[in-house]
C-alpha cells in the first residue's frame, strides 16, 4: 500500500508538470501582446519595450519557460493587472470559498445520491425508483444557471426563506481566518449564529451545484447495486443466513461503490469547472467569479493561476479516489 501511494504521488507530480507546460504553451500561442496589454492603450512604443524587458518577454522562449517554471515552484503566480496584487494572494483569498462550496455540494451529492441509488436498486421498479428516475433525469438535463435562478425566485424571492446571493451579509463579521471555510471557522470559534447564517447562504448554490452530480452518482450507484445484488456471492451470503440489511449495506454497497467512486472523482473536476456559472448566478466570491471577471478584463495571469489551481485540485481528488479504490479493493493493491 505504501509503495502504491508513493507511486501515485509521483504521478501527481508528473501530471502537474504537464499542466504547467500546457498552460505556458497556450498563453504563448494565444493572440495578443501581453506587454502591450499591461502598458494599456495609450502607451508609447518605448513604454511597451520597457515593460517587455521588465517582464522578460524579449528573452528566448526556453529561458522564459525556465523563469515561468522557477516562479511557479517558488509560488510566484505573477501579478494581476486589475488589482495590481500578487495572483497567489488573490487565489488564496478566493479559493476557500470555492472549495467550501464544492465540498458541501459534493457531500450533498454523495450522502443523498448513494443512499437513494441504493434504495432504488433494492426497491427496483417501486415508487422510490420512479421518483429517483425523475430526479436523476432532471438533474442531468436542467442547466445549472436556469435552475439557480428558479431556486432564487422560489426560495428567496417568493418564500423569503433563504438569502438570494452572496456568502455572508455585509453586517456580519466573518469569523477569524483559520481554514478559510466560513462554516468550519465559525464552528471552531464557537459562533453558531454566524454558522447558521453562513449555512443559509451556502444551501442554494450548493444544491444547484450538486444537482447534476447527485443525479449521476445516483444513476451509477443504482445500476451497480442492481448488478451486484444479482451476483453469486450475494446469493451465497443469503444462503449462509446473513441478514438482508447487512447484505445490502455492507456486502453489496462496498462492491457497488467502486464505480461510484470513479464517478465522484470525475464529477469533482466537473463541479470545479461549473462553479464559474454557479458563482456568477449566486454572486459567490470564489475563484470561478474571479476567473470570469479577470478574463473579461483580459487579465491573464489570474486566469492561468485559476487554471493551475483547478487542475491541481482535480488531480489531488482523483489521486485520493485511486487510493480509496485500492483501500476498498484488495485486488488493486499490488498494482
Amino acid at each position: 500500500m505504501l509503495t502504491f501511494t508513493l507511486r501515485k504521488l509521483l504521478t501527481v507530480a508528473g501530471t502537474m508538470l504537464g499542466i504547467a507546460v500546457l498552460t505556458f504553451v497556450i498563453t504563448n500561442i494565444a493572440p495578443g501582446d501581453p506587454a502591450r496589454l499591461v502598458a494599456g492603450p495609450n502607451a508609447t512604443e518605448d513604454m511597451v519595450a520597457t515593460i517587455r524587458t521588465e517582464y522578460g518577454l524579449d528573452r528566448p522562449m526556453i529561458e522564459q519557460f525556465a523563469i515561468y517554471m522557477k516562479d511557479l515552484v517558488t509560488g510566484d503566480f505573477g501579478t494581476s493587472i486589475v488589482s495590481t496584487r500578487p495572483v497567489l494572494d488573490e487565489l488564496l483569498r478566493y479559493a476557500p470559498a470555492t472549495i467550501e462550496l464544492v465540498l458541501v455540494a459534493m457531500l450533498l451529492g454523495i450522502f443523498v445520491g448513494v443512499p437513494l441509488g441504493m434504495l432504488s436498486a433494492v426497491y427496483k421498479d417501486g415508487p422510490i425508483d420512479h421518483f429517483t428516475r425523475i430526479l436523476s433525469i432532471s438533474g442531468v438535463a436542467i442547466p445549472a444557471f436556469w435552475f439557480g435562478i428558479l431556486m432564487q425566485l422560489y426560495f428567496s424571492v417568493d418564500l423569503g426563506w433563504l438569502p438570494v446571493s452572496g456568502r455572508l451579509p455585509l453586517v456580519t463579521r466573518p469569523p477569524e481566518f483559520i481554514t478559510g471555510s466560513l462554516l468550519i471557522d465559525s464552528l471552531l470559534a464557537g459562533n453558531f449564529k454566524t454558522f447558521n447564517t453562513a449555512l443559509s447562504y451556502i444551501i442554494l448554490p450548493a444544491i444547484v451545484l450538486s444537482f447534476p452530480c447527485l443525479a449521476s452518482i445516483l444513476r451509477v450507484n443504482r445500476a451497480e447495486m442492481i448488478e451486484v445484488l444479482q451476483s453469486d456471492y450475494i446469493v451465497a451470503a443469503r444462503a449462509h443466513g446473513i441478514s438482508s440489511r447487512r447484505i445490502v449495506i455492507c456486502y453489496a454497497l462496498k462492491n457497488a461503490l467502486l464505480p461510484t467512486l470513479a464517478m465522484i472523482g470525475l464529477r469533482f473536476g466537473w463541479m470545479l469547472g461549473s462553479t464559474v456559472l454557479v458563482e456568477t448566478v449566486f454572486d459567490w466570491p470564489g475563484i470561478g467569479l474571479y476567473a470570469v471577471s479577470s478574463a473579461l478584463a483580459s487579465d491573464f495571469k489570474p486566469v492561468i493561476g485559476v487554471t493551475l489551481l483547478i487542475g491541481f485540485l482535480f488531480i489531488i481528488t482523483n489521486t485520493l479516489v485511486d487510493l480509496a479504490y485500492a483501500w476498498i479493493d484488495p485486488r488493486l493493491r499490488r498494482a
Binding site: 446469493v235 451465497a236 443466513g241 446473513i242 456486502y251 462492491n255 476498498i328 479493493d329 485486488r331
Partner: protein
C-alpha cells in the same frame, strides 16, 4: 419411522416471463431422511438448481409455487417469511456452490466472511454474538476441519489469493459454520480441475461421515454423484423421471432419458471407438507434418516485475489429418500454447512451422493470409458469438473479411455451412440467444470452417456444454474432420474425452510437456507420475469405477 428431514410433496413452481409463466418444476416428490445422501442428476435447464434453492427459500425472483409443499423436519417451509427463514437458512440448512470464485465476496477477507456467518447465526439463535477472538478461533477451527493448511494465516487473505480448490474448501467451511442438519451441494466440483475435484469429493465424503450430515447434492457429473450419494434422482425438464439407489440407477437405468444420459458420459476406461474408422482409411506411409513448434516459450511479466513462464520450451509436431490432444489442469499453459500456435498471443521465443513455413516471424498481410488456413473454436460458445449479430452474419464474417465473394455467394456459402453443421438453413436469421449451447457451438464451428481451413484449434470446445450435447458435438467434430480433411489440435482437461477422440496426446504441467505420444499408450501405460495421478483422479470420478464401488 420418524419424520423425514426433508419432504417435498407434489411441488410445482412457475416463473413469470414476458411470454407468460414457464413451468420450471412439475410435481416434484422427494423424501430425504436423516443421514441420507441424495444425488440429483440433470442437465442445465432441468430445474435442479431452482429446486434446491427453493428448499433454501432463495428461489428465483418472480417465481410462484402453484401446488405442493416442502416440509423440513415437520415444519412447512414453502411460504415462510424472511424472518422465519432466519433460524433455518444457513443454520439448519446450508449450501455449497458451484463456482468458488464468484460465490465469495472479493472485497472481504476469508476470515471476515466466515466470522460474519458465525455472527449471523449467533444473532439468529439469540445466543448473542461472541467476541471477535472467539469467532476467529471458531473460524480457524472450521478452516482446519476442511483440511486447509495454515488456517491462521488464511484468515487474513482475500479470495483472489486462493486457488479454486482452496476457495471451495472455504465455502464448505462457511456452510458448516452453523452445524447444519441438511447440506445442499450445488455442483460443488464442476468448476474445478480433475485432481482437485477428487480431493473436494473426498473431503465432502469424509465430512458426511464425520459430522453425520444429510446431503442433497446436485450435479450433471454422474461420477461425482456416484461418489457421494447412496440414493439418486434424475431430473429432466422440471420433472423427476427416476429415483432409487444410485447403484441401481447407474447400473440398470429404466427411463429412456437416464439411459441416454448414461450412454453419453465419456468413459475413461472405454476403448476408443475410432478403430473402425481408422482401419477404413489406409494409413499413408509417412505422415506429413502440418504444424510444428520448436522451443515455444511464453514469459509474462507480472506487475511486480517478476517473470512468469506460462509455456516453457514446448516442442510438438502435429501430423496432417490427426487429432492432437493437449491435456492438463488449469494453469498448465495449454490455452496459452493454443493461442500462440495461431499467433493470437506473441511467443516470447521459439518457432512455429505451419505447412513448412515459419510463421513466427510473419506480420501484416502475409500473417493475415495465413490465418485463413488455421482457425480457433473457443470454449464458451455463449460468449464467442456477438449477441447483436445474426447467425448468418456470424458465419459470413470471415468470408467478408478474407474473400471478395459477392453478397449472394456468401449467402449461399453460409447456407452450405449450416448444412454441414446440421442446422436448419433458417437459422441464419436467428440471434445467438435463441439457440441452445450445443447449437451455438455448431455455429462457432461453422464459422471456423467457413474458409476451408486446414487446421482447427479447439480450446475445450465441449466443456461448457451438457454431457449429452457434448457427446453429439464430439461425434459431429469427427464427422466434419473426415469430410473436410481437417487436422485438429484438441485441448481438454477431460481425460475421458481426450481418450475417446485423440490420436496423439501431450500432457502439460506448469508450462512444460511431461509426457507425449500415442493416446492409447499414455492411458494404458503412463510413464510419468503426474500423468498417472491425472488418470487416477479421472478414474475416481468416472462412472464405471463408481458403479463398481457402490454396487
Amino acid at each position: 419411522m420418524s419424520t423425514p428431514l426433508l419432504d417435498i410433496k407434489d411441488y410445482s413452481l412457475d416463473i413469470g416471463t414476458f411470454d407468460g409463466p414457464v413451468h420450471v418444476l412439475k410435481g416434484i416428490n422427494l423424501t430425504v431422511n436423516r443421514g441420507d445422501t441424495l444425488g440429483i442428476v440433470g442437465e442445465s435447464g432441468s430445474g435442479k438448481t431452482v429446486l434446491v434453492r427453493s428448499v433454501m427459500g432463495i428461489g428465483p425472483k418472480g417465481s410462484e409455487v402453484t401446488q405442493g409443499q416442502i416440509t423440513f423436519d415437520g415444519q412447512d417451509i414453502t411460504r415462510l417469511t424472511e424472518k422465519a427463514w432466519g433460524n433455518i437458512r444457513g443454520i439448519r440448512i446450508s449450501m455449497i456452490f458451484q463456482d468458488p470464485m464468484t460465490y465469495l465476496n472479493p472485497l472481504f477477507t476469508i476470515g471476515q466472511q466466515i466470522s460474519d456467518v458465525i455472527a449471523a447465526h449467533q444473532r439468529a439463535s439469540g445466543e448473542g454474538v461472541a467476541s471477535k477472538s472467539a469467532r476467529r478461533a471458531r473460524t480457524v477451527e472450521l478452516l482446519d476441519q476442511v483440511g486447509m493448511r495454515d488456517p491462521d494465516q488464511l484468515f487474513d487473505q482475500y479470495p483472489h489469493q486462493l486457488s479454486g480448490g482452496m476457495r471451495q474448501r472455504v465455502l464448505i467451511a462457511m456452510a458448516l459454520a452453523g452445524k447444519p442438519e441438511l447440506l445442499i451441494a450445488d455442483e460443488p466440483t464442476t468448476a474445478l480441475d480433475v485432481t482437485v475435484q477428487a480431493q473436494v469429493l473426498d473431503l465432502i465424503k469424509s465430512l458426511v461421515e464425520k459430522l453425520n450430515l444429510t446431503v442433497v447434492m446436485i450435479s450433471h457429473d454422474i461420477g461425482a454423484i456416484a461418489t457421494i450419494a447412496t440414493r439418486c434422482a434424475v431430473m429432466y425438464k422440471g420433472e423427476i423421471v427416476e429415483q432409487g439407489a444410485t447403484a441401481d440407477i447407474l447400473g440398470n437405468p429404466q427411463h429412456a432419458y437416464t439411459k441416454q444420459l448414461l450412454a453419453a458420459v465419456p468413459d475413461i476406461e472405454a476403448e476408443p471407438k475410432r478403430v473402425a474408422a481408422a482401419a477404413a482409411e489406409p494409413k499413408t506411409e509417412k505422415p506429413v507434418k502440418l504444424l510444428e513448434a520448436h522451443d515455444l516459450t511464453k514469459i509474462y511479466k507480472s506487475q511486480s516485475g517478476e517473470p512468469f513462464t506460462a509455456v516453457d520450451k514446448v516442442n510438438l509436431s502435429v501430423a496432417k489429418g490427426e487429432i492432437f490432444g493437449v491435456v492438463g489442469e488449469s494453469g498448465s499453459g495449454k490455452s496459452t500454447l493454443a493461442r500462440m500456435l495461431l499467433r493470437l498471443i506473441e511467443p516470447t521465443s521459439g518457432d512455429i512451422i505451419f505447412d513448412g513455413q515459419n510463421i513466427s516471424g510473419l506480420n501484416g498481410e502475409p500473417l493475415r493470409q495465413m490465418r485463413r488456413h488455421m482457425q480457433f473454436v473457443f470454449q464458451n460458445p455463449h460468449s464467442a458469438l456477438n449477441g447483436r449479430h445474426t447467425i448468418g452474419d456470424a458465419i459470413g464474417e470471415p468470408l467478408r473479411i478474407q474473400t471478395n465473394m459477392s453478397k449472394r455467394d456468401i449467402e449461399a456459402r453460409v447456407e452450405a455451412l449450416l448444412d454441414i453443421v446440421q442446422l436448419p438453413r433458417m437459422f441464419k436469421y436467428r440471434y445467438p440467444h435463441e439457440l441452445s449451447g450445443g447449437q451455438k457451438q455448431r455455429v462457432c464451428i461453422a464459422r471456423a470452417i467457413a474458409l476451408n481451413p486446414r487446421l482447427l484449434i479447439l480450446d475445450e470446445p465441449t466443456s461448457a456444454l451438457d454431457i449429452s450435447v457434448q457427446a453429439q458435438v464430439l461425434e459431429f467434430l469427427q464427422q466434419v474432420r473426415a469430410e473436410l480433411d481437417l487436422t485438429y489440435v484438441f485441448i481438454s482437461h477431460d481425460l475421458a474425452v481426450i481418450r475417446q477422440i485423440c490420436d496423439q496426446t501431450i500432457v502439460m504441467k506448469r508450462g512444460q510437456i511431461v509426457e507425449q505420444g500415442d493416446t492409447e499408450k499414455i492411458f494404458l501405460s503412463p510413464a510419468e507420475d503426474y500423468t498417472r495421478a491425472l488418470i487416477e483422479s479421472g478414474r475416481k470420478t468416472s462412472r464405471a469405477a463408481n458403479i463398481g464401488a457402490t454396487g
